[in-house]
Symmetry: C2
Subunit: 264 residues, 2 copies
């Protein structure tokens, strides 16, 4: 299970404040905590700093790379911002994210192939938010076709079928889960990835819902997730579900996590 | 999600002691607590009292029916014990359980049809503990064929694909999960049911594993479970997973559980 750590995102108040105040120690603390907690990539996002996104993200990238050896997930919809970050990378990053929208294909795909990065591809087309499982699988197919035709290996593609709030549509998460199963079955070798926070928007006890959704998604074949690995209950559930679905040989990963005090 | 409450089982020390001491108040307390916690059936088991099972189970049945209006799940492999309980039932019970073993088919099936009860059917044949998903689905098919041929409606059949300890075979739970998906897809209208405790045997933080397995099983289509509904974390996860898989219209069941203080 690949973990992309989500905390360094300017949409979070404390992160936005730290960026505004150029509080390097705070950002570095977040990077270190997530590294220690078992992240494989550190996501970096300065999207709320409109007009200053590239400048702020560069500052974050430099701060984070000083304290962790992990590769980064460059989280921006803007090809120019991504282009400005790529030469700064100490390790091959993941670009988060591309869609089927022509401006993003034209702007971002050449960067993926030039820098041979991994890429998160959202199930979103120009005039379409895919809402049903069939729509999501169909758009995933078009994304995979477009990316592989440009030379991106299947193993570098992380399809995000997207999940919308259950409070708006109680079937939305079910469609995403079915899509994960469909994508993993129909396109063997590709990866699936998902963020969790949308799913519980507007409902009480959100972290419980996020945890339940992660458990269900892993059951359907999800092999990477954009999560907060410092969330102890979420991390414990991730390890336990990975175990029950048969992806933890000899139960070793679970038992190690237990010995480290990471499960209950 | 149908909940069969598992606590009144003589394999639990406190229950065995209460049975031995004829502590009616204790047994009735367990029945009331599980009823309040949202059970749909109260399982009753006196299996460890060899030679006295019928007598002890009769005492339990009478005690429990004094304090709850819920129907019971008569938990015994012995046709004679089940036969002795059936006339005592105030509501149509579920018989737990039948298998393909000839002695159980011959002894128990006539009781199911005579008393028109629901029945839990274990994926277990005479010389075979089904371990792979394919074996479980195949045996489920034979059980369904046998039961429906005798006139048992599909809606009264609860197939238990059985789960074995992960500590013995890390693939065992995955096989059960795959079987649940296969059975629900291949035999529409039938129910699946499962106990959880076996899966975590021999591993640390067992309740976390049980919770993860329940979440995964509901994701695969499980629509009933033999659980302890007074386990708050387990119950909360059950409600949250039922929500994310799209089986909670308008999120009402989840929101009600939240208002009752049952989720986190």
């Amino acid at each position: 299970m690949l973990i992309i750590a989500e905390r360094i995102n300017a949409s979070r108040k404390t992160i936005a404040q730290a960026i505004s105040a150029a509080d390097r120690t705070f950002i570095q603390g977040e990077a270190k905590a997530q590294t220690l907690a078992g992240a494989h990539y550190i996501d970096v996002n300065a999207g709320t700093f409109i007009g200053e996104e590239a400048e702020k993200l560069k500052w974050i990238v430099e701060a984070v790379q000083e304290v962790t050896d992990l590769p980064l997930s460059i989280d921006s919809p803007d090809p120019e911002v991504i282009r400005a970050m790529l030469p700064l990378m100490k390790k091959a990053p993941v670009i988060n994210s591309i869609t089927l929208e022509p401006s993003r294909i034209e702007g971002i795909l050449p960067l993926v192939t030039e820098y041979r990065t991994k890429v998160i591809a959202l199930c979103q087309a120009e005039h379409e938010m895919a809402e049903t499982a069939d729509d999501k699988v169909r758009i995933a197919g078009r994304l995979i076709e477009t990316l592989t035709a440009a030379g991106v290996p299947l193993d570098d593609i992380y399809i995000d079928p997207l999940v919308y709030p259950l409070s708006t549509n109680p079937q939305s998460a079910g469609a995403t889960l079915e899509a994960i199963g469909g994508i993993m079955k129909r396109f063997p070798g590709v990866h699936t990835v998902c963020g969790l926070t949308n799913v519980s928007y507007g409902l009480p006890a959100r972290k419980l819902i996020n945890r339940a959704f992660l458990a269900a998604a892993i059951t359907m074949g999800l092999d990477s997730a954009i999560i907060d690995p410092t969330d102890k209950h979420l991390y414990a559930m991730l390890k336990a579900v990975t175990l029950v679905v048969g992806k933890d040989d000899f139960c070793m990963d679970y038992i190690c996590a237990f010995r480290e005090g990471r499960v209950e």
